[in-house]
């Protein structure tokens, strides 16, 4: 089992070390998330009732955009210096290596967002129960964003204007995650129970874990041909 997972763990470790060396990128994505979410009240007004209502959606959209920032750099640097090609040719499972890179991307760009979300939720005056559900939904949802995003990053690797193209391809596919994630809090507030939303989000997460790294690998092989 541990042998099987070795390439995965290696890739995670390597990308985390690289991220630790370029701390600014991590901090930029997180800072971006905080600023975007904080701009919303400034654009809408300080009405506490309204802010409580839009808080889940605002945080979720902030998380979507923050994920997009890091995605462009998921494969591009490795593609430029030839590492990616070596990975594709190596005897180790390319899919597992890619899965490791995606995992590292989530640890670097998704997890900090999840951790800071409760703090931003407090700014929006969310009650403690909603805060918990929101954080849980982000915890389940942000890996989906990294996984689906990896497919888009692989498809647009080395392509003209890949940044804008990536958002055009990926954002529509994020809609289910956004709906179930942000909807969980609203459903709870409406007394409908949040379990249904979170179960669907979990199902989505499982499906993306199974399929997204594999599809990303196929797309990367096409890009490397």
């Amino acid at each position: 089992m541990s042998n099987f997972l070795t390439p995965f763990l290696q890739a995670v470790r390597r990308d985390l070390l690289l991220a630790a060396r370029h701390k600014t990128e991590v901090i930029t994505a997180l800072f971006f998330f905080v600023i975007v979410v904080n701009l919303l009240p400034l654009g809408i007004g300080p009405d506490a009732d309204l802010l409580r209502k839009i808080a889940p959606g605002a945080l979720w959209i902030g998380a979507l955009l923050a994920t997009l920032l890091g995605l462009q750099r998921l494969f591009a640097p490795d593609h430029q210096d030839g590492t990616l090609e070596q990975m594709a040719l190596s005897p180790q499972s390319f899919t597992l290596l890619i899965a490791g890179k995606i995992m590292a991307h989530w640890l670097v760009s998704g997890l900090p967002v999840v951790l800071i979300a409760p703090l931003l939720g407090v700014q929006f005056d969310l009650p403690a129960r909603s805060l918990g559900i929101l954080t849980l939904s982000l915890l389940l949802g942000t890996p989906i964003l990294s996984l689906i995003g990896a497919v888009g990053a692989a498809l647009t690797l080395g392509v003209r204007g890949s940044g804008v193209l990536l958002s055009l391809l990926i954002l529509p596919l994020y809609i289910p995650a956004l709906i179930f994630g942000a909807g969980a809090v609203e459903a709870d507030l409406a007394g409908l129970g949040f379990e249904g939303h979170l179960s669907l989000l979990g199902a989505l997460l499982l499906a993306s874990i199974v399929f997204a790294p594999w599809v990303a690998t196929v797309a990367l092989r096409v890009a490397l041909e």
């Binding site: 289910p176 909807g183 096409v222």
Partner: protein
């Protein structure tokens, strides 16, 4: 069986498909005109006025066929993509990219006509109805597909990347539709059902079907003409094009 299989693979090569497509175009173009004329005649002259919506319901004769075709074309694109990825046939990728612009056009027309229908019936140009929203997302998927293919210079890579995107999209479309519907029922505000007509007159249905067939024939005509353009553009230097591409 083996003979028919042989024929299929024969026409899977661009060089032999090119003249076949050229021969088919006039037939499908004629079918488009005949079916559209029949559909418009049934739609405007035969179908009765709707009891609730008056004459405004006649938008259905373009709105529903456009919506159907936009969804159907995406599925056909996914079919060609799967074929192209599994058998590595060059024609499949060309067919996929030949269909995309027409699909995008129908997705747009479906939104446009839906909006024009919504204004008199619901009092708003746009409602966050599950169907309208999903249609908008489908339009985005088409745009993404076209943009991705346009951004990749190497045609082989463009074909494969497009095929992967089309397949990812077709898996996601039902999920997106389901999630949007779920979202719509949670926010009860805008839940209006558009075509609840349980007692739709037979002539209305007939007109709708005729128009759908006309749109279908139109799609094939456009796809065949476009795939011929794509074949020529890609094989401009090859021998057979130099010899006998021009009729």
């Amino acid at each position: 069986m083996s003979a028919s299989l042989f024929n299929w693979f024969k026409f899977a090569s661009p060089a032999s498909f090119f003249p076949l497509a050229g021969r088919l175009v006039p037939w499908f173009a004629a079918a488009t005109l005949v079916l559209a004329a029949a559909g418009l005649w049934v739609g405007f002259a035969v179908a009765p006025t709707d009891a609730q919506q008056g004459e405004g319901y006649r938008i259905i004769f373009v709105h529903v066929p456009a919506s159907w075709m936009s969804m159907f074309i995406y599925c056909v694109m996914a079919f060609w993509s799967a074929l192209g990825l599994s058998f590595n046939t060059r024609l499949s990728g060309m067919m996929t990219s030949a269909l995309a612009p027409t699909g995008a056009l129908f997705a747009f027309l479906s939104l446009w006509t839906g909006s024009l229908w919504g204004k008199p019936m619901w009092g708003a140009w746009w409602v966050w109805d599950a169907r309208l929203t999903s249609q908008l997302i489908l339009f985005f998927l088409y745009l993404g597909f076209i943009a991705l293919q346009a951004a990749i210079d190497d045609p082989r890579r463009a074909d494969k990347a497009g095929a992967i995107l089309a397949l990812v999209g077709v898996v996601n479309v039902p999920i997106i539709y389901f999630s949007v519907q779920w979202w719509n029922t949670l926010h009860q505000g805008a839940s209006v059902s558009m075509t609840k007509a349980p007692s739709m007159a037979h002539t209305m249905l007939l007109g709708m079907l005729l128009m759908a067939l006309a749109f279908w024939a139109y799609t094939i005509t456009m796809a065949l003409i476009r795939v011929r353009c794509i074949i020529l553009e890609r094989e401009l230097t090859s021998e057979w094009v130099k010899k006998n591409a021009m009729e």
